[in-house]
């Protein structure tokens, strides 16, 4: 675990940027995660103090939303859409392919920190299902071969 106190100056400068903004907690958390990669535990008291909320409230919000991470992310994040439209075009077979090839469950992360799997429910790409998002980029009209090629590319720059 890295020394989280190193992140505090970043956290505090982001908090300053949102000072006076109403209901700022989500924007603050998004900004911290974007800059640091996750929400460090050490940031929670700082956030709570700056926004005049309790630490329990801040932790409650972090845990409620699927997007917020409390640990550093893997190098690659692959989010396969598992919603109805993609299921009707074979998303479950792609999910099985991912589990089989990476030996991970649907929420798993590889031990070497190279890739994390996350299900996502709709990327708005439903007219060209199935779809996934890899490191922020959406790929649609997926096939088993295309998925393999994307995974190969992730492995190569590991």
């Amino acid at each position: 675990m890295p020394d989280e106190s190193l992140h505090l100056s970043v956290v505090n400068s982001l908090l300053e940027r949102h000072a006076g903004s109403a209901g700022a907690l989500l924007p603050v958390l998004h900004d911290i995660q974007e800059r640091i990669g996750y929400i460090p535990d050490a940031a929670v008291p700082e956030i709570a103090h700056a926004l005049n909320q309790s630490q329990a409230e801040v932790r409650g919000v972090i845990s409620f939303y699927h997007d917020f991470r409390t640990a550093p992310p893997a190098r690659h994040i692959l989010r396969l859409c598992r919603a109805e439209s993609c299921q009707s075009r074979g998303a479950e077979q792609l999910a099985a392919q991912l589990r089989e090839r990476l030996q991970l469950d649907d929420h798993g992360s590889s031990a070497d920190g190279n890739i994390s799997l996350r299900p996502v429910y709709c990327l708005g790409a439903c007219a060209c299902s199935p779809a996934l998002e890899l490191d922020g980029r959406v790929h649609a009209r997926l096939s088993a071969e295309r998925l393999d090629a994307l995974l190969d590319a992730c492995r190569e720059d590991a």
């Binding site: 109403a22 209901g23 700022a24 907690l25 989500l26 924007p27 958390l29 998004h30 926004l51 909320q53 409230e57 409650g60 919000v61 409620f64 939303y65 699927h66 997007d67 917020f68 919603a83 109805e84 439209s85 993609c86 299921q87 009707s88 075009r89 996502v120 429910y121 709709c122 990327l123 708005g124 790409a125 439903c126 007219a127 060209c128 299902s129 779809a131 998002e133 922020g136 980029r137 959406v138 790929h139 649609a140 009209r141």
Partner: protein, 520 residues
């Protein structure tokens, strides 16, 4: 002389290779020493043809699609030699039957204009609604919205004019406009298309709403799965502000209205308006009990007009062309047009904007061209994950709020997910309950506990060794659906019963049940 080329910058066009096509065009033009003018526009919504390259011609824009980077040299060559015919040539895009037969009011600019060009927007009727609203004043603006018959496009279909009058008539030092852009339903992408492709339309609609009801600030709450929409909207808001359409003197009215984009964090429940308000306040997305309604006590306890993207984006046109123009479209109490979205296992997936009243069969078979797999059609889920699975026997039902409600279904946000006979409806019913369990905010018991118990009941039903065991579990499941439907605080728990009960009713064999028992 090379004609101007147009290629969508829409995120789904990019997800199927539009950026690669763009790069290839630029590289190839440089190599061949061709002067290239390439505009990145919004998408027409004819997604099975994306990436769809369009080319100016004296008759109108010609289309080529679906393009790949490898097709670029031959297409450029075909353009130099107009008598040749390229295999991807589609002819005049606006004459394609899929597009020609649509009634595009809301998506009139789709595929034509550049999303962040104020000049393009104004050249195609932009800001005429705002101008008219400033001339009319608040009272008459609210009347126009009321008279148009516009109903909330997010799913609940509440008459918009009533909300506007309520917020306008509630005195407060501060009021808000909140745009619900947390479009999380599978099978829907109209909000995404509109925000990415025509952001000024939404901004104009919100500004009109702000001036009318006396709100000075607005929020667009966009789901985090739509990063392109967030980026486009933020740039568009800045451009609109610089041009005087937002700020201290909106469109020369002397009134103030400004807005910002807020990003969700992956919680489906935040598409429910009161959970969204809590989320905007920086809290967990918990559903609030109503009353008080948000129009009276909404964001930070103040009067708030909450509308879906498509509702707000319908307003500029209603003001510019008049309420009567708008209500001439549609049927019964479902007036105007609806952008239906064809998705899932369908040959021609895309956006179909038509007046209410066409049938589901016309939509799925005529526009959609049947299943993409070529296998027999099994059902279509209309209205997102909380919508019913409609069997082909009911496909002649007109797409109308009341007609769908009458058969225990709903139009919702207009998304249609098509499924072929390989999709197991017992699995989909289980998935609906599992999704509800995952996304429940936890405030009310039927949704929090019922969804988890429902998954267990389906598992027991499917594992039951004999018919009587399955029948027993089916009775429990139907009972649980009733509890969810009538006992939940909001639509998440309340309508999770729709996909479950409809799957059970129309596809009993998938559960190992006989038709007669499922009908009980």
């Amino acid at each position: 002389m090379m004609p101007t080329l147009y290629l969508p910058a829409d995120s789904l066009a990019r997800a199927v290779g539009a950026d690669e096509v763009s790069t290839a065009l630029i590289t190839q033009a440089k190599e061949s020493n061709l002067p290239l003018e390439l505009q990145r526009t919004s998408s027409r919504g004819l997604y099975w043809l994306e990436p769809l390259l369009e080319v100016d011609s004296p008759q109108g824009r010609l289309g080529f699609g679906p393009m790949t980077a490898a097709d670029v040299p031959s297409v450029l060559e075909a353009l130099q030699n107009p008598s040749s015919h390229h295999p991807l040539a589609l002819g005049l895009v606006e004459q394609l039957p899929y597009l020609k037969t649509q009634q595009r009011l809301l998506f009139a600019r789709a595929g034509i204009t550049r999303p962040l060009s104020l000049d393009d927007y104004r050249a195609h009727g932009g800001f005429e609604g705002l101008k008219r609203a400033v001339e009319l004043g608040g009272e008459q603006t609210a009347t126009a919205v009321f008279d148009s018959g516009l109903r909330g496009r997010g799913g609940a279909a509440f008459p918009a004019g009533i909300k506007w009058r309520t917020v306008r008539g509630t005195p407060a030092a501060q009021k808000y406009i909140v745009c619900n852009a947390d479009e999380g339903d599978s099978g829907t992408f109209a909000d995404r298309m509109l925000m990415e492709g025509d952001p000024f339309l939404l901004i104009e609609g919100m500004a009109i709403a702000g001036l009318c009801v006396g709100a000075t600030y607005g929020y667009i709450y966009v789901r985090s799965e739509y990063p392109d929409a967030v980026a486009v909207l933020r740039q568009a808001i800045n451009l609109a502000r610089q041009a005087g359409y937002l700020g201290a003197n909106v469109g020369g009215s002397g009134l103030t209205f400004d807005m910002e984009v807020r990003v969700g964090a992956g919680a489906y429940i935040c598409g429910e308006e009161t959970a969204l308000l809590d989320s905007l306040e920086g809290k967990r997305g918990y559903v609030r009990a109503k009353p008080p309604i948000p129009a009276l006590k909404g964001l930070f306890g103040l009067p708030t007009l909450v509308h879906n993207v498509l509702t707000l984006a319908s307003v500029p046109l209603i003001l510019a062309k008049g309420a009567q123009f708008y209500r001439d479209y549609g049927m019964g109490r479902s007036l105007g047009t609806m952008p239906f979205q064809l998705a899932g296992n369908v040959r021609h997936g895309g956006l179909v904007e038509r007046a209410f009243g066409l049938t589901l069969r016309e939509l799925v078979e005529d526009y959609g061209g049947g299943t993409a797999s070529g296998r027999p059609l099994k059902a279509a889920q209309v209205g997102g994950p909380l919508g019913a699975w409609v069997p082909p026997g009911q496909f002649d039902t007109p797409l109308d709020y009341e007609a769908f409600a009458a058969m225990g279904a709903m139009l919702g946000h207009g998304g249609v997910v098509v499924a072929d006979d390989s999709l197991d409806m017992a699995h989909m019913a289980r998935f609906a309950l599992q999704f509800c369990a995952e996304e429940s905010c936890g405030k009310c018991t039927p949704c929090r506990i019922g969804s988890t118990r429902g998954v267990e009941v389906i598992d027991r039903l499917l594992a039951a060794p004999d018919q009587s065991g399955r029948d027993e579990q089916a009775i429990i499941l139907k009972d649980l659906c009733d509890t969810l439907q009538y006992g939940s605080l909001c639509a998440l728990g309340g309508m999770t019963s729709y996909p479950v009960a409809s799957a059970l009713k129309h596809f009993p064999a998938d559960f190992g049940l006989h038709a007669s028992e499922a009908e009980q």
